[in-house]
């Protein structure tokens, strides 16, 4: 098989829809990634800096609550409501981008890399900041070198918080000696296991320990700004994968050198190529596809555009039938795109409707927005999602929410027979077309098309 415009949008983009014209060729698909990020400007998610005041306030208030202030309790509740509202708005913005954008691959890559560098906001005040992490560390680095994204993501305040790095102090450091604090291995281990080399990579416990000592020094200040403090770093050199980093005095540039080396390590090339192929193409990707992408990663020193190009040019990327099961978020967002729900309509939904129609059903499908189960992110395996309870939740959603949304937006559902063609193009098979035609009502016809394996897969 080779490039096909409809399959390109379904497999590598956010799907087909009445307003979307499928991309002409792989070159155009890649080219769109290099242009400016219109979707981010249209549906804005504010940057980290804008939230610093809220975080400062949250800290002050929680201090007052601990001291027993009733007024502070009310303020705390108000702030939590504000955070919930922000999280809902940014959830809507993320779906709106999926639904509207002519540059669907950018949205898909954003979700992929956000999952690769999974973080969770651990407190009510930081919960919505997961979206900001994606906006700050992931989205601007989609098309650069993997090492640049690694440095941005692994040392972002939200990552330092999620994986406890901000509390880690190097062995023998000034702070360890004076304050009795010490090392925490969490971030070091997950960078090696999840972000770079992969669990089968050539590292052991000693590398974890040494790398943790090298990373010590990274923390953030009261404002949430990431800083590197030599007083927290471990003095002397650290040996990671047989290479020595650092000198007598801890320096930021030594940490960056180690991250750069990890980013271009052959095990990392293999790990990243495999993950991309698994995410976009198949739970069991063709080894030739992985090898092709791995070679592109290695020869370009982790230039991500080169890796994406290698993925799009390989024939195994265009194999049919569709095999990958869409995760619940992608399933719902691509449904809305197929239904022609505009980004503006989605971002205009009230928080209550977003919860009832999208966030809560998504949880029943097994995916709670911005709450992945662990730093390894969401499962890729189709069998993980298409369980009896997971499939039931998808079908119930497909039958009910499209109509209730249209009622709210004063639109109407399309004719199911047309809808099958809009949503699936040439991939609409006889069974889907039969269901669309034989359904007793319009809402059921649309729901059945969205429940079809051909639509739940990509």
């Amino acid at each position: 098989m080779s490039f096909d415009p409809e399959l390109a949008e379904i497999r590598f983009g956010t799907g087909l829809g009445p307003a979307a014209r499928p991309v002409a060729d792989a070159g155009a698909m890649l080219d769109r990634l290099n242009r400016q990020d219109d979707a981010a400007r249209k549906f804005e998610i504010s940057g980290f800096d804008a939230q610093i005041a809220d975080m400062r306030e949250a800290r002050l208030i929680s201090k007052q609550v601990r001291q027993g202030s009733e007024a502070a309790k009310e303020q705390q509740q108000n702030l939590r409501n504000k955070m919930r509202q922000l999280q809902a708005e940014w959830f809507a913005a993320t779906i709106a981008r999926f639904s509207d954008s002519p540059d669907g691959m950018r949205e898909r890559l954003t979700r992929f890399w956000a999952d690769h560098f999974t973080i969770v906001g651990r407190r009510p005040a930081t919960r919505p900041l997961a979206a900001i992490f994606v906006e700050d560390a992931i989205r601007p680095n989609l098309t650069g070198r993997f090492g640049d994204m690694l440095k941005a993501a692994a040392t972002h305040a939200m990552m330092l918080d999620y994986l406890d790095q901000f509390q880690s102090v190097g062995e023998g450091s000034v702070v360890a000696e004076n304050q009795g604090k010490g090392l925490n291995e969490n971030l070091s281990r997950e960078i090696l296991e999840l972000h770079t080399l992969g669990v089968d990579g050539p590292y052991d416990q000693s590398d974890v320990r040494e790398f943790a000592n090298l990373l010590a020094g990274f923390t953030y200040d009261q404002e949430g700004n990431v800083t590197y403090k030599p007083r927290r770093g471990s003095p002397g050199a650290e040996t990671i994968l047989g290479r020595s980093y650092g000198a007598k005095r801890p320096r930021l540039k030594d940490v960056h050198a180690a991250l750069d080396d990890l980013a271009t390590h052959p095990a990392t090339a293999h790990h990243i190529a495999t993950k991309l192929a698994v995410h976009f193409v198949s739970d069991q990707p063709d080894p030739a596809l992985v090898a092709h992408m791995e070679a592109a990663f290695s020869t370009s020193n982790g230039n991500l555009m080169t890796v994406y190009a290698a993925m799009l040019e390989h024939p195994a990327s265009w194999d049919l039938p569709l095999r990958k099961v869409k995760q619940p978020f992608d399933y719902m967002a691509s449904s809305l795109r197929a239904l022609g729900t505009s980004g503006k309509e989605i971002s205009g939904l009230k928080q209550r409707d977003l919860r009832a129609g999208l966030a809560n059903p998504m949880a029943l499908m097994g995916q709670v927005w911005e709450r992945p189960p662990g730093p390894d992110g969401w499962a890729e395996d189709g069998a993980h999602w298409i369980t009896p309870q997971g499939l039931a939740a998808r079908i119930q959603w497909a039958l009910t929410v499209p109509l209730s949304l249209q009622q709210k937006l004063r639109g109407e559902l399309p004719d199911p027979r047309d809808f099958a063609r809009t949503a699936l193009g040439g991939l609409a098979d006889d069974q889907v077309l039969l269901a669309a035609q034989a359904a007793e009502t319009r809402w059921e016809g649309v729901g059945l098309v969205l429940s079809a394996p051909a639509f739940q897969r990509r």
Partner: protein
């Protein structure tokens, strides 16, 4: 699901598609037959994801080196007395009385064969697959145990919750459902869905199980109009807001009071790299709630019940620099239930002297936690030693099974 069942179900679907609108004849809407389940004993396996710190939950306060390893973590709170040498985490006040009643036990210094890389995700896979560290089996030990049981029916084993539990997945047929899940369809939609799914085993198998379970669990059923489906959906998502462990345990107990004999679910929140005092108290609160809810709802059946709560590995013997612990090796297994020989901490204590630690950092594993799971299977369901050593836990030597079941 066995191969045999899969074929049968596929035939169901083919037939129901071919039958067109003769719904009454469709096996898809016929409640599944309930045959005698294998015996009266119940087993609940709770997977504790994130690596529970066994040394903080079941504290070896009698070990002369313990206090020095945990200068900040375990000081100044009142651990609950067990046998004099071990004491229980102070937050487990509801669970503690079960010790005196003989319904609570632990195994200490136990682990799976997983070593050295200390990855949660590989560690959990090996825990649930029940295999050696280098194996790559993609089904769960509890499923393989089930495959050897006679009279095993669709609802004999139940995976509860929104996730797909590896420990119960495999060839033997198992039910999967989550409290508050519903499936409400018009007869026509049901047939059209079956027709769409018939060539896609992943979808057709889940669909027929969902329909059968929705029917027997009273979670949906036939819809006449949009209002019916919408109403079911609203109730489901609203009720799903609760979504906590108590609800999971209530649902599990309800199944165990019916045909179900084996059930599994998971509890997360054990990865306490920092702020362990608060974080572990929260996670233990969930475990305690799960066990106490099972005990409350099971009533008399609790006497025939064994709960095993197991985790992928333990945590470092020393506390780390941020009031927590990092990934370790051996840890503790929690056993509860009226069928358990309680009031005892099982296992061989390796000691906490520097030289006794594994790689000078972790509690040394002296027992394989699969031996305890195997002993539970033998005690509750009569699983033979050879079945355990060859099929359920291939390669495990279980020549001296711990006597944990009454």
């Amino acid at each position: 699901m066995s191969k045999h069942m899969k074929l049968n179900r596929r035939n169901f679907l083919l037939k129901s598609g071919a039958l067109g609108c003769s719904l009454a004849a469709s096996p898809l809407v016929t409640p599944i037959a309930m045959a005698a389940a294998p015996g009266d004993n119940r087993l609940v396996v709770i997977i504790l994801r994130g690596a529970m710190d066994g040394l903080d939950v079941v504290r070896p306060v009698g070990d002369p080196h313990f206090a020095a390893l945990r200068p900040g973590l375990n000081q100044g709170d009142d651990a609950l007395p067990l046998d004099g040498f071990f004491a229980l985490h102070p937050s487990l006040t509801d669970l503690h009385p079960l010790w005196a009643k003989g319904e609570l036990a632990f195994a200490h210094a136990v682990s799976t064969p997983y070593r050295d890389k200390r990855s949660h995700f590989d560690g959990q896979d090996i825990l649930e697959a029940g295999i050696g560290a280098d194996g790559r089996i993609r089904d769960g030990w509890l499923n393989r145990a089930l495959a050897g049981m006679t009279n095993s029916e669709m609802r004999t084993a139940f995976a509860v919750g929104r996730e797909d539990l590896l420990v119960l997945s495999g060839a033997a047929q198992v039910s999967h459902w989550s409290p508050n899940s519903v499936l409400t369809l018009s007869p026509q939609s049901r047939l059209l869905l079956a027709n769409m799914y018939r060539d896609t085993p992943l979808f057709s198998a889940s669909m027929s199980e969902a329909i059968a379970l929705a029917e027997t669990l009273d979670a949906g059923g036939d819809a006449e109009d949009y209002g019916d489906v919408r109403e079911a959906m609203m109730q489901s998502t609203q009720a799903g807001q609760r979504g906590g462990v108590e609800e999971i345990a209530e649902f599990t107990a309800a199944q165990l009071l019916e045909e179900t004999r084996i059930a599994s679910f998971s509890i997360t929140g054990w990865d306490t790299h920092s702020g362990q005092r608060g974080a572990l108290t929260r996670a233990l609160g969930e475990l305690q709630k799960a066990i106490m809810t099972l005990r409350r709802d099971l009533g008399q059946v609790w006497q025939n019940t064994t709960v095993l709560a197991m985790t992928e590995f333990g945590r470092t013997a020393r506390e780390n620099g941020s009031g927590g612990t990092d990934h370790g090796t051996a840890g503790a297994l929690v056993l509860a239930g009226g069928a358990v020989r309680g009031g005892k901490v099982y296992g061989d204590w390796p000691g906490l002297d520097e030289l006794d630690l594994y790689q000078a950092r972790d509690l040394m594993p002296t027992g394989d936690l699969r031996a305890y799971a195997g002993a539970a299977l033998t005690g509750l369901f009569g699983t033979s030693r050879s079945a355990l050593e060859t099929r359920v836990f291939p390669g495990l030597d279980i020549s001296e099974p711990p006597a944990i079941i009454r």
